[in-house]
């Protein structure tokens, strides 16, 4: 294996971390939504895609990438909350398959809607000027934008952690994830929490979409391919675990990037091999709890 | 003096992520009688029940059934070795009729993977299912979907389905939960009828009921066995009195 220098390796690992950071965002959103609402959000990829498109649109309209970074997640979160309130909530009593099916149908409509509104072939998106180029970190040069992505995700995770572990809202989310009855007994309006959590989850997915726009452009299909990855990361990390989402997301990103280097033909399949391995050894996921909602 | 136990636990303990639910529980259940497991809330009764029924695998210790070590046996095998249970929260097949509920329980012992023959033709299952429904007093509800039955009827059906496993040991988790006094009386009569040819182990909260129908009692507290004996023994037991002080008697 000639030509693989330590610099190249470091660069690939770093690329993997940046890629993984996006995956982490997706998995965290999925886990939040499932943990609180017991809904496997099959529209998560579609919200990611919607976020990317709204981000592109907002950037064009305002001329600022930074504005898009803030506006797009908020706008998509609003859409998400409307969906939760009117489409998904009626199905909570019916068993876990129905909300799942609804989100699947929702994704279908969202993708078609975007195709109608923005065309089928997708749109390019340039990396904002400030973040172009690369930064020299000791022995190798790392693309600035990817560094930025990692930084944003890390900041968001910190904020999320503080919210969940240190605030009363976070307490409700944690309690609700385990025992909705207790939350209701405490006199809190659970439905408001459902709304906010779904909004948060989809908003985070949208943020991931905006962040990934400079990396791969935007297309109506981008949500579908990323949904698979989000699911793999969730299964590997364990649903409902923040730590699991972080570890698994980064792991999948790095494995994929290294596979491109060492086994290019198997790169696409590498994450499935990882998933199969985890399922054989620890079916509930690396950080998942066995027996919860078996 | 005592016969070989039908089921016994030796040094059984159960830990859940740092929390110890049961510790070193040694219990011998005598055959052909009704034993009740009692204790205040959080004593570990449900955990112990789940270990006896195979739903949980103990962290420590062994479980022996009729002399054989069954620790770690797959949950679904328990019905085949002769242990059946009725759940605390009614757990039936909601859209099956009462008859079908019992019949499928019987079928599990005749054929589980048969792909070719018509199951309606399996000899005798329908008659035996009707007989079991009759035992629990539900013969006239045979064709009604389980979800349409009244709560007390569903609890009775729960027992009929458990009996479909032709068990030597019948485990019942709070069989009278949510029942009116009248329904409780009917259920108690039924349970009395079932003891003798089978061993019955009950987990219950209603002390008056437990004291009147049990032949032996097992008392748990904070996951440990604190007393075992006849109802009179238990009534006179100082520790048990202290543990239940303030809990009130049913």
């Amino acid at each position: 294996m000639d030509g693989i220098t330590p610099q190249l390796l470091a660069l690939q690992v770093f690329t993997g971390l940046a890629l993984g950071a996006i995956y982490v965002l997706l998995a965290v959103g999925l886990s939040l939504i499932f943990g609180m609402l017991t809904v496997v959000n099959f529209a998560h990829g579609a919200f990611f895609m919607l976020g990317a498109y709204v981000g592109v649109f907002a950037a064009e309209q305002t001329g600022s990438f930074w504005a898009a970074l803030v506006l797009a997640p908020l706008a998509v979160a609003a859409v998400g909350m409307v969906c939760e309130r009117w489409l998904i909530r009626p199905l909570y009593g019916r068993g876990i398959d129905y909300p799942l099916l609804l989100t699947f149908g929702l994704a279908y409509i969202m993708v078609e809607g975007v195709r109608i509104g923005f065309g089928k072939s997708g749109l390019p998106f340039d990396t904002p000027e400030l973040l172009q180029g690369s930064v020299s970190l000791g022995f190798a040069d790392f693309p600035t934008y990817r560094l930025f992505v990692i930084a944003v995700v890390a900041a968001l995770l910190l904020g999320l952690w503080l919210l969940i572990e240190r605030t009363s809202f976070g307490l409700i989310v944690r309690a609700g994830a385990r025992d909705p009855v207790i939350v209701r007994v405490l006199g809190i309006d659970v439905s408001r929490v459902w709304l906010l959590v779904f909004g948060m989850g989809t908003g985070i997915a949208a943020l991931a979409g905006v962040l990934s726009a400079p990396l791969q452009g935007v297309s109506p299909e981008m949500g579908t391919s990323v949904l698979t990855v989000a699911f793999v990361v969730t299964v590997v990390g364990g649903m409902g675990s923040l730590m699991g989402a972080v570890v698994a997301g980064l792991l999948v990103g790095v494995v994929e990037s290294l596979a491109v280097l060492f086994f290019p033909e198997a790169a696409k399949v590498s994450m499935f091999v990882l998933m199969a391995g985890v399922l054989l050894v620890r079916p509930q996921g690396l950080f998942g709890r066995a027996g919860l909602m078996a | 003096m005592t016969a070989d136990p039908v089921i016994e636990t030796r040094g059984v303990g159960m830990r859940f992520q740092g929390f110890t639910a049961l510790k070193d529980v040694n219990v011998r259940i005598q055959p052909g009688i009704l034993t009740s497991i009692i204790g205040p809330n959080g004593a570990g009764k449900s955990t112990f029940f789940n270990i006896l029924s195979g739903a949980l695998r103990p962290s420590d210790g062994r479980v022996l059934f009729q002399g054989n070590d069954i620790t770690g046996t797959s949950p679904h095998q328990f019905a085949h070795i002769g242990i059946a249970k009725s759940f605390q929260i009614t757990n039936l097949f909601p859209n099956f009729t009462a008859l079908e509920n019992v019949r499928i329980g019987l079928q599990a012992h005749v054929s589980r993977y048969g792909l070719w023959r018509r199951r309606a033709l399996l000899q005798g299952l329908t008659e035996e299912a009707m007989a079991l429904l009759d035992t629990v007093g539900l013969a006239d509800c045979a064709q009604r979907p389980a979800r349409e039955l009244a709560h007390g009827q569903q609890r009775a059906l729960e027992i009929a389905v458990a009996l479909a496993a032709r068990p030597r040991l019948l485990l019942m988790d709070e069989p009278t939960a949510g029942m009116s006094p009248e329904e409780t009386r009917v259920m108690m009569d039924l349970i009395r009828k079932l003891v003798g040819e089978r061993t019955v182990v009950l987990v219950e909260h209603k002390m008056k009921m437990v004291m009147s129908i049990s032949e032996r009692l097992v008392v748990l507290h904070h996951g440990e066995l604190i007393a075992e004996g006849t109802p009179d023994d238990i009534r006179g037991n100082e520790m048990v009195r202290r543990v239940y002080l303030g809990q009130g008697q049913h």
Partner: protein, 334 residues
């Protein structure tokens, strides 16, 4: 308690006087014959036979999926893998190895079952909530693997699956004639439906419904729930693989889209729109969806949007699907 889904056969009602219900009971008892009659007459009712053949094939695809979802209660989002494996196996054998159709088709079914065994062993041992996600992921894996296989033709799909004439026991069918091609496919579908009927009426049929109704109770009764699910998964894949093989012969090719996530999603929609857990529902769903597609795509290229809206509408208000709701209304008319 799970959702209320009708059991395969309507409950035996004592003293049914309603003529529609009596007719329904008679039909249910002879469901194979009834299906035979309806499907035999079907192509004469359709504007063109190709549509009828598509409905038949996608109906069979949905039948396989329904065995797992409607009857066993497991929601898989990866069934395109079985449709695809069946199609590519039959396609490659016929187009590149000159295998006879009567050997290629059974081999395609076997291939589908083998892939299902591998997928099922991974997907079933995990927590139930992961099942939809794992099946989706694993079928994407199958897609990538087959895509890279030189024999599959990659993006362009497989071409040259030419079976122009079949003869068996003296009977000759010209597959270039659409009507005769329909009856060729019809023969296989009827055999499959007969097999399905036997499976549903068998002890195993009772076992899978018990697992769907209440997994914990089924386990307590003595059913090995994991093994039951796995067997159902494999059988389900067999039906889908057959549909794939027939499709390869029908189109004389296998498009790579057969393995896409969209194809997995499509069968989910077919099954729900038609009626989960019913014998004939899948064909109703296939007819509904393909007819919508056929008519709507003439007016607008965005017919998929309308399908999606209809689907959501059904999920919210008619979860039993067209056929399932119809059966329910007829059976519970008091």
């Amino acid at each position: 308690m799970t959702t209320t889904i009708k059991a395969a056969a309507p409950p035996i009602e004592i003293g049914t006087r309603h003529p529609a219900r009596r007719a329904l009971r008679a039909i249910a008892k002879h469901r194979i014959a009834a299906t035979f009659v309806v499907l035999a007459v079907f192509p004469w009712l359709m504007p063109y036979q190709s549509l009828a053949i598509n409905i038949l094939i996608y109906g069979l695809y949905a039948v396989g999926f329904n065995l797992l979802f409607g009857y066993t209660g497991l929601l898989s989002f990866g069934h395109a893998a079985f449709l695809g494996v069946g199609a590519y196996t039959a396609g490659i054998l016929i187009a590149q190895h000159g295998t006879a159709w009567w050997l290629a088709i059974p081999l395609a079914i076997v291939a589908g079952c083998v892939v299902a065994l591998a997928m099922g062993l991974l997907a079933i041992r995990t927590r139930g909530i992961y099942f939809a996600m794992v099946t989706l992921a694993l079928s994407q894996c199958v897609y990538f693997l087959i895509y890279q296989l030189p024999a599959s033709g990659g993006e362009n799909g497989l071409r040259g699956v030419n079976v122009s004439e079949v003869s068996l026991l003296g009977l000759k069918l010209d597959l270039l004639n659409p009507m005769q091609k329909y009856y060729f496919v019809f023969a296989f579908v009827m055999v499959a439906m007969a097999v399905l009927s036997r499976i549903l009426a068998s002890p195993f049929g009772g076992a899978i419904e018990a697992v769907r109704e209440n997994e914990a109770r089924a386990r307590a009764c003595g059913f090995d729930v994991e093994r039951t699910k796995l067997l159902s998964f494999v059988l389900s894949a067999g039906f889908c693989a057959l549909a794939g093989a027939l499709n390869a012969i029908h189109l004389s090719s296998v498009p790579i889209e057969t393995l896409h996530y969209a194809t997995s999603g499509m069968v989910v929609m077919l099954c729900l729109l038609g009626g989960m857990g019913t014998y004939f529902g899948p064909f109703v769903g296939a007819a509904l969806l393909l007819l919508i597609q056929d008519t709507a795509s003439a007016w607008t290229e965005h017919w998929q949007l309308y399908v999606g809206i209809v689907f959501i509408f059904f999920v919210l208000f008619f979860p039993k699907g067209v056929w399932g709701t119809l059966l329910e209304r007829l059976n519970h008319d008091r």
